[in-house]
Amino acid sequence: MQISRRALMLATTALVCTVSLGEARADVDLAAFMALSEHLTGRSDLDPVIGRVYLTALQREATNRDALAALSRDPGRQDGQALALRKQILRCWYSGLIGEGDASKVVSFEAALLWSAMGFAQPKGWCRGPVGYWSEPPDAQETTR
């Protein structure tokens, strides 16, 4: 998977934030977060550079930290807080966005998992093929990416 320049830039910024805040150091390390993300998405090709941005954003909310630690230890947890966090993590990976409403930011455009799930389409705004490719249904390869 390609690492987008934007993800790299945001990751760098996020790292700086974590260090300078001191007490905001991660309670869950990146490897644990990636393992949890792979469990939730069912994918084994997630990009840790992007993952680090999501992890940092999630841990910025103090209430998430304990829940994230607990969920990483036991990815099967389904209690209220764990359930909300599972959805939050999936939303990050699928949308490529962090934050809510007007405060939301794009972390990843083309690597958002929604485009992998919708393999029959391309990230909207990117060229896909010659005039008329759209006249036929997608082939099996395009629908099972």
Binding site: R91, Y94, A117, R128, P130
Partner: protein
Amino acid sequence: MSADLSAEVVIVGAGIAGALAAAGLARKGIDTLIVEAGPRLERETLQARYEASPKRDLPSGPYPDAPYAPRPTETDANSYLVQAGPDPFATSYERLVGGTTWHWEATALRFLPEDFRMRSRFGLAEDWPLSYDDLEPWYAAAERELGVTADAADDLGSPRSSPYPMPAMPLSYLDRQFAAALSDSPYRLVTTPAARNSQAYAGRLACCGSGSCIPLCPTGAKYDAMVHIVLAEKAGARVVPQSVVTALTADSAGRISALTFKRPDGSEGRIEGKTFVLAAHGLETPKILLMSRGEGHAEGLANSSGQVGRNLMDHPYKVSWALSDKPLWPYRGPITLSSIENTRWGDWRGERPGYRISISNSGWAWPTGAPLSSVNRLIDEGLEGAELAASLREQTSRQVMLASMTEQLPDPENRIEPDFEQRDRIGIPRPKVTYRFDHYTKRGMTTAEAVHEEIFARIGTGPISHSGHPWGGAHIMGTYKMGVDPKTSVVDPNLRSHDHKNLFLLGSGVFPTGAAANPTLTLAALSLRAVAAIAGSIKE
């Protein structure tokens, strides 16, 4: 105050109307200057902004919200517009060099001959002061300038003197299933004429199927007014961005002598010219005229008829969406390729509006913000892992949407005025809009909903969602209408002000009625037709 700039022809607005006129004038060797309120951005910059915008799929998503040139957007119309009601005026347009063609869908329909004769044919509103036949050669010219692709075998009720410049774009798989389902119905599915390249044309690439005509074509295969901005500049025209025009000045003989503008820092400037052209679209053009108050013209310039700012029209939409029983694979190729156009005409237009139905090739993007909204809903439902991916794929492959665009009649009480009490960030009055839907529009909504249900029943779908109140089409028309009588209209058929012989007003604001076809090709044809009169005026 001395002039900062001057030109033979000064055009206000760097959208399609101003750009086409500028290119035509500059090619004749006329010294032409375009003044644009917004900034100038290149396609690469806008593509980067698009990819970085969380609101990327809104028409306004990639475009700048310049503090000195505010504009209404889909999520925030009212920081700029002052809504006087009773109905909200939902619209959006862009303020930058290239104008709203950056985000237009590129539908390039001609009006019908009967659209120019609503009074004599149906007893409604009024006739245009020119006929379809008068405009036909200019429609052909506009199709060549923009690069229109369509089905050569079908004139869609608008007789043609010349072929389309490009062959039809192939329909999508989804379109072809709709066509088959409608084959024995009264609704004939056709290829929608569009200014998108089905092959390389005029130095621009063929469409690469990015699925993002709205908000931004990544390659320029979809026409936008930058094409004619660049052509105008090559022929010697100058373009001055970031200059927000505040008023025109008239001399004692009634000739327009100068305009005043504000820069982003609020400082003021002045531009002189022999002839002035306002091409700042249906809200900004009348606002400039109505802000141009002075002795002898307390109600603004070009307004002896009192019609400036009145008769504001849009194309109210009824939108319906559902999941088809079988996968039809939207989100592949241009956002729409086909439509039903034979509902635009009929003897019943005296009772209810003509309308056209476009078949979405981009799922539920417009009504729900899909596919992102689809992701969020499935996650909310608790889906995870492979099941989430499979459900998302399965649901988005079945998203179908129909959008009926209906004709709205002119109503003099529907109007835009400058609000001198409420000003924007550089102190310019904001546009105050008074707006209401009549029973004609409401009957159009009822008809469209029933027809959508009939079409969905033929293709086979699950439960159907409908938009409630009419949705805005962002087609702003009628606010400086054309006519032969200076007492009841603002410009003549050459788009020249009845009141000021060296002032021309371009754009869909000149339409006496709005028809049920997207306005751009018609306003482009009228702009090309006006070039000769504009050129002639500088010698008067």
